[in-house]
């Protein structure tokens, strides 16, 4: 029995004889890895669809819509689902965005304010260089970050709208939070009045609670990762070190051979590498300010600063969600005292101070803190067994420091004590200026085409690391982020 292929319609012009083979080899490991994730995602997508339908029905029942109105709403959802199916096939690349300004620089790339060309919507776009992510063994972290941002449908967490990749970089397109980060505000104000600190720490408590409820541990709560929105409320970002304890979040899955390298969160000499420091002449400014800025540069070198990391994490003793509450204590200290409690000239010394917190944690007597504030700090910066938060976030909310906060109402709907000044939509004055020598300007080669790691025209073996990275948020309001 001989079967003949149907006659294909080939588009003229292309000379297929010169074309080299489109089929590339893949390692079995990469294939299996991809398939396992893929099946997980097929299930997840299916369940999410069902959930959206259920949710609509429930909300309609609550609203008491007429049968005709209900039918109308269903039609809208189904249309949106169909559009979503279509958009999943649309390839995205960085040419769909125009960069407006750099907002911040991190260890693996940068975050900039960008405008989506077709809709003119503004986003914050984070670019990570693949080779850095791979060489520093951060793939699992990047994966975790994508997952949490993609899954979070949570007002406390920055929303991810799209993630995509080209040959050299990974891109996260997320909500632009125009009020700047907490670190910039700290640098500007030096210390916060207790009321302002109370407000931020109360919100931080709720934000962390919501992250824990999603099954994640942030591990890297620090002022740089707390953003201030248009109305003065906070949002968390940078889940690079966060972990959801999924198998795809385990670094061990991304290494070849049997040598298992350290998790970058583990104490390491990486912290002593300050070659990434971009302070330069800014060190000449006011000493206090300069110190903080330098610290900020340290924070951006490689794996970040250990200033806010709980001792049990540093000691690799095994840790739980409680480690995030330690960071809250450190941040409260920094807000009220004007510098973090374990500040030291080098990350290694900071690390030692953190580990040795029993002897190094001092609230300077010349700083006048209320007894409640001091008490909360010492109940958060203590051994995990005694730390507040063992019974959940309610432990912390019940602390007398928060007596004047009403946690029973929705804090995000209350007016915030500090409203950032934003004079126009692309005003970035709340961010510290940064030099512009970014991967964006490096367009020497055409390497920015939309690109699927499992598509046939590519095929480096390490690429399995970035399979199933691409994401598009369902509720993106047709290209406009929700305000």
């Amino acid at each position: 029995q001989i079967q003949t292929s149907p006659v294909p319609v080939r588009k003229g012009g292309k000379d297929e004889e010169k074309r080299e083979s489109r089929i590339k080899s893949y390692s079995p490991f990469a294939f299996k890895f991809y398939m396992e994730q893929h099946v997980e995602n097929v299930i997840k997508t299916y369940q999410q669809k069902i959930n959206r339908r259920l949710q609509l029905e429930q909300e309609m029942a609550k609203a008491g819509l007429s049968e005709a109105e209900q039918e109308q709403m269903r039609k809208i959802l189904y249309q949106k689902e169909s559009n979503y199916n279509r958009l999943k096939r649309a390839k995205m690349d960085k040419s769909m965005f125009v960069k407006i300004k750099t907002l911040g620089i991190g260890a693996f790339g940068e975050v900039c304010l960008a405008c989506k060309v077709d809709t003119n919507a503004l986003y914050a776009m984070k670019t990570l260089r693949k080779k850095d992510v791979l060489s520093r063994n951060q793939v699992a972290h990047v994966k975790a970050e994508r997952d949490i941002l993609a899954e979070a449908d949570n007002e406390w967490v920055v929303k991810l709208y799209y993630s995509f990749q080209d040959r050299d970089s990974l891109y996260f397109v997320m909500d632009y939070i125009p009020g700047g980060d907490m670190m910039s505000l700290l640098i500007r104000m030096e210390v916060f009045p207790e009321n302002l600190a109370r407000f931020y720490v109360a919100e931080l408590t709720l934000a962390i609670e919501s992250v824990h409820k999603m099954g994640f541990i942030h591990r890297d709560i620090k002022p740089d990762n707390i953003l201030i929105d248009l109305d003065g409320h906070i949002k968390l970002t940078d889940f690079g070190l966060c972990t959801g304890f999924r198998w795809t979040h385990n670094s061990k899955y991304y290494q070849k051979g049997s040598h298992i390298r350290q998790d970058s969160m583990e104490p390491s000499d990486l912290w002593d590498d300050v070659s990434n420091c971009r302070c330069g002449d800014r060190l000449k400014t006011l000493e206090q300010r300069a110190k903080k800025q330098h610290q900020r540069c340290l924070a951006h070198s490689l794996v970040g600063t250990p200033n806010y990391i709980a001792p049990e994490v540093l000691l690799r003793k095994g840790y739980t969600q409680l480690c995030d509450w330690w960071s809250v204590g450190v941040i409260l200290f920094e807000m009220l005292v004007g510098q973090p409690p374990f500040l030291a000239p080098s990350p290694t010394e900071t690390q030692l101070k953190v580990i040795n917190w029993e002897n190094t944690l001092h609230i300077p007597s010349q700083v006048k803190l209320s007894p409640e504030a001091s008490d909360l700090i010492t109940k958060l910066c203590c051994s995990a067994e005694e730390r507040l938060g063992r019974n959940g976030a309610d432990d912390i909310k019940a602390h007398p420091f928060f007596d004047s906060i009403d946690f029973s109402t929705d804090c995000r709907r209350q007016p915030a004590p500090y409203i950032p000044k934003i004079s126009h939509p692309t005003d970035t004055s709340n961010f510290d200026p940064v030099e512009e020598d970014s991967p964006w300007n490096d367009t020497s080669e055409d390497n920015t085409r939309a690109w699927d790691p499992q598509a046939p025209s590519s095929g480096k073996h390490t690429e399995h690391a970035f399979y199933e990275f691409t994401f598009r948020r369902f509720f993106d309001d047709n290209g406009y982020p929700f305000r």
Binding site: Q1, R22, V39, L87, R89
Partner: protein, 198 residues
């Protein structure tokens, strides 16, 4: 030939990942068109996805699918596939790797053709869309036929039977659900299919 020693963390992770391949997933259900959604968009997103996955499968065994090992593109002694297009005007017997190359190439051109697979919201699919999809899926099916019949030992040796099987099942349920491949074309794997897909 276990890759990871039992008891190690790697082994545990590996086991967990494996389980997800079977765990409570009714692929038959998952492929059904959700009520109210557009059939063409539903089919299109699946076709692109299956193309990527089948391509990946072939990419894992193509080192042993050569001019020498497979001088004709076939599915066992009974089935031989011939290629025809603008260049090969008559149905031509080709080696399996040659055939696969042309096949993947051709599909890639189809799915990247905006007139056939529009990605802009609002652009309608062409009238012959399902016709083209049937061709694509029939050709993709031949990759499964060749891989299963001639290279299954390699799949087994890599320990990826479960992965390939899951992919096949998904594919099969999908084409059945929307009658996208002729029964005649499915013939070569009929027996295996009846054992695997219920």
């Amino acid at each position: 030939k276990r890759k990871f020693e039992p008891g190690t963390q790697r082994f545990e992770l590996h086991k967990k990942a494996q389980a997800s391949l079977n765990a409570g997933l009714d692929l038959k259900l998952v492929v059904q068109l959700p009520p109210g959604e557009d059939l063409h968009d539903w089919v299109a997103v699946h076709v692109v996805d299956f193309f990527n996955r089948v391509n990946l499968i072939y990419g894992t065994i193509n080192d042993c699918c050569t001019e020498k090992s497979c001088p004709v593109m076939s599915g066992g002694p009974k089935y031989e596939y011939r290629w025809q297009d603008e260049k090969y005007r008559k149905p031509t017997a080709l080696s399996a790797p040659q055939y696969m190359n042309l096949l993947m190439d051709w599909i890639e051109v189809q799915i990247n053709n905006e007139d056939l697979f529009p990605t802009n919201i609002g652009t309608p699919f062409p009238k012959n869309f399902l016709q083209v999809v049937k061709k694509i899926l029939s050709r993709l099916f031949r990759v499964f036929v060749h891989v299963y019949i001639h290279h299954f030992d390699r799949i087994a040796q890599m320990g990826s039977e479960a992965h390939v099987n899951t992919c096949y099942k998904h594919f099969y349920y999908f084409v059945k659900e929307f009658s996208l491949i002729d029964t005649k074309e499915l013939e070569p794997l009929k027996e295996m299919t009846s054992r695997m897909c219920h």
